[in-house]
């Protein structure tokens, strides 16, 4: 079921935590990824949308109708909580049939079969959730959410506890689903790869406040929030305090000149032959270790630890502890943080 969703000035309180205001627009088929550190308010936002926390201010509009006063069971959302919330006492098939069963919907049996087939769960239909792998449980949760024919899918950490292959598969399923069924989605995730694989836009929360709200391209090019910057792969993030001291001509001064109200972020600088005209910095290797994306070297320069990534194929010799290395930072790649929240 495709609807247009508009969230206006949503604010909610949970004990001493305040969330909002949050504004959000979701056209049919749109997906937004909610990002933020632990305790940023991501789950609070989802539970408010789902109707488990009362709005203090604002509106939730579905096709122009304010549903913020509706009970959770009236909202027709496919809400998948953290930990999935599968019914341990029902088999896979009966989990999926549940939303149709309680509505006495005709054709529940056929629809269950279809969903089992669609999510490759048919051989597992009579198993209990405790006997499934993490990826299988995730597919059951999604199939069950869809069985209710939801107007919006709201999913808290879909990829939690999944291995790489299962994540990839589930990402594909969600992507197809959005294309085919045009069901909008709000997804909380800590996983950048999968967030980018399904979301058209991003909402970054910090201590209950919206820090950034933009599309994928903007987030990749010019993140404004330190968490978002790290999330999209800016390895070096410094706050203004770290840059405060440092004489003119030092690295700190260089970065300070380009800092926004919340500091700066830049991706890995490049080692080796540098373009003419780029200022070079020199430092001592503090640690050197391989990682899935190549080889990461931490270089101590002017009291700052700069992370430098050497992508594969790596030409020997690789830097070792105590080596002196030179690197350059293209001024245009230094991103000021905290300057704009669009």
């Amino acid at each position: 079921m495709s609807h247009e969703w508009v969230v206006q000035g949503l604010e909610a309180d949970l004990d001493h935590f305040h969330l909002g205001p949050v504004d959000l627009t979701l056209a049919p088929g749109n997906a937004v990824a909610v990002l933020g550190a632990s305790g940023a308010g991501k789950t609070t936002l989802l539970r408010t949308l789902a109707g488990f926390l009362r709005l203090r201010r604002g509106q939730i509009l579905r096709d122009g109708v304010d549903i913020s006063g509706w009970l959770p069971e009236e909202r027709n959302l496919g809400y998948v909580p953290q930990g999935l919330g599968l019914f341990p006492h029902r088999t896979v098939a009966r989990n999926i049939r549940y939303p149709m069963e309680i509505r006495d919907r005709a054709g529940a049996e056929e629809r269950t079969k279809e969903l089992l087939e669609q999510f490759r769960l048919t051989p597992l239909a009579n198993r209990y959730p405790s006997r499934l792998s993490g990826g299988e449980q995730q597919r059951v949760a999604l199939a069950r959410a869809l069985a209710a024919d939801p107007g919006l899918i709201v999913w808290d950490e879909p990829w939690q506890g999944l291995d790489v292959l299962a994540r990839y598969e589930l990402g594909l399923v969600l992507h197809e689903l959005r294309q085919a069924e045009r069901v909008p989605m709000v997804v909380v995730t800590h996983d950048p790869t999968l967030a980018f694989s399904i979301a058209d836009s991003f909402l970054v929360l910090r201590t209950g406040q919206v820090r950034e709200q933009c599309d994928a391209a903007t987030l990749l090019r010019a993140p404004a929030d330190p968490f978002a910057a790290r999330f999209v792969g800016f390895e070096n993030v410094f706050d203004p305090e770290a840059l405060a001291k440092g004489p003119p001509g030092s690295l700190r001064a260089f970065l300070r000149e380009r800092s926004g109200s919340e500091g700066v972020a830049f991706a890995s600088p490049s080692l080796g032959p540098l373009p003419v005209g780029i200022v070079q910095w020199q430092g001592t290797v503090r640690s050197a270790r391989p990682n899935p994306h190549g080889f990461t070297v931490e270089v101590l320069v002017d009291g700052l630890v700069i992370s430098v990534r050497i992508p594969p194929p790596m030409a020997p010799p690789l830097p070792v502890l105590g080596d002196t290395v030179r690197f350059g930072i293209e001024p245009a790649t230094v991103q000021p943080l905290g300057t704009s929240f669009t």
Partner: protein, 295 residues
């Protein structure tokens, strides 16, 4: 760290008892001692009651009346626990309200108060001449020395076990599962019937079994409030008493063999009932362990 430590082939000698057969032996000896304490007195009881005494006890009209009275009243008491105790457990588990800890303490009170006091308290409330006596007479549920008195005492002493067990079981149900159910379109009552209760059922049933066991074994309160049970209500046999009071009387009169025989008979019935429930759980025949077992 030397090679022997790193290898982990054998624990250091000083700690071997913690992992070796001695540790298992310790557990077996300790739990075995307790089991002996449970079993030996019962064996002694059976030893003092020859089989033909058991048979004759089971044929005695007095014994049958006492057994009927005991099982009937305890059944009604368990029913009362279902009707009143389970909702109370749910309320205490799911709602916060001022004075909840006071209510919780009050619920636990009947477990710790000597039951003779319970009988005495009820006795003062319902003896002839009191308003409650007249009221219970007028609605057709006289309490003093009737089967309803037995039921009342039994509910008092046994219902707390159902309330406490239900509270714990309802509290153990993952709130996120309940939120998922509501979001899928189930109203509060539907969620209770289709998710909360089925998930809590095992603990609730365990509480009901404890309640039943407590009701059946009650004697203190009954000695005061319903020492003799006169016919009335669902009971129309001879003047009798519950099995516990009956055995106590036989014992007081010096008929040790009879006391042993009736006790043994009662034990056999109670043990058979418990065994039936456990076997039902094992086989998956009863519904409250679904999802934990096969497939």
């Amino acid at each position: 760290m030397n090679a022997a430590d790193a290898g982990g082939d054998s624990p250091p000698p000083g700690r071997r008892w913690r992992t070796g057969p001695l540790w298992l032996a310790l557990q077996l000896v300790l739990s075995g001692s307790l089991l002996l304490l449970f079993v030996v007195p019962i064996l002694a009881l059976f030893a003092s009651a020859p089989f033909h005494d058991l048979v004759s006890a089971s044929r005695s009209a007095d014994v049958r009346a006492a057994l009927w009275l005991t099982f009937y009243s305890s059944g009604v008491a368990v029913l009362a626990s279902v009707v009143f105790g389970i909702p109370m457990g749910y309320l205490l588990a799911r709602r916060t309200f001022p004075g909840r800890s006071i209510v919780e303490s009050l619920v636990a009170l009947p477990v710790v108060v000597p039951h003779l006091l319970v009988g005495l308290g009820l006795f003062f409330l319902v003896i002839p001449g009191t308003p409650l006596y007249r009221f219970t007479q007028s609605i057709g549920f006289p309490v003093y020395d009737t089967i309803w008195g037995v039921v009342l005492v039994m509910v008092f002493v046994s219902a707390p076990y159902t309330v406490l067990a239900s509270e714990l079981s309802f509290r153990a149900v993952d709130n996120r599962v309940l939120e998922a159910a509501r979001s899928l379109g189930a109203g509060s009552a539907t969620v209770f019937l289709t998710v909360t209760f089925p998930l809590a059922m095992r603990g609730v049933v365990a509480g009901l079994l404890l309640s039943w066991a407590r009701a059946v074994s009650e004697i203190g309160g009954l000695l005061v409030l319903a020492y003799a049970v006169y016919p009335g209500g669902p009971y129309n046999g001879p003047v009798s008493s519950t099995i516990s009071v009956y055995i106590y009387n036989v014992f007081q009169n010096g008929n040790l063999g009879d006391a042993a025989a009736v006790s043994s008979l009662f034990l056999l019935i109670a043990f058979a009932l418990f065994l039936l429930v456990r076997l039902g759980e094992r086989s998956g025949w009863v519904p409250w362990r679904r999802g934990e077992l096969t497939p």
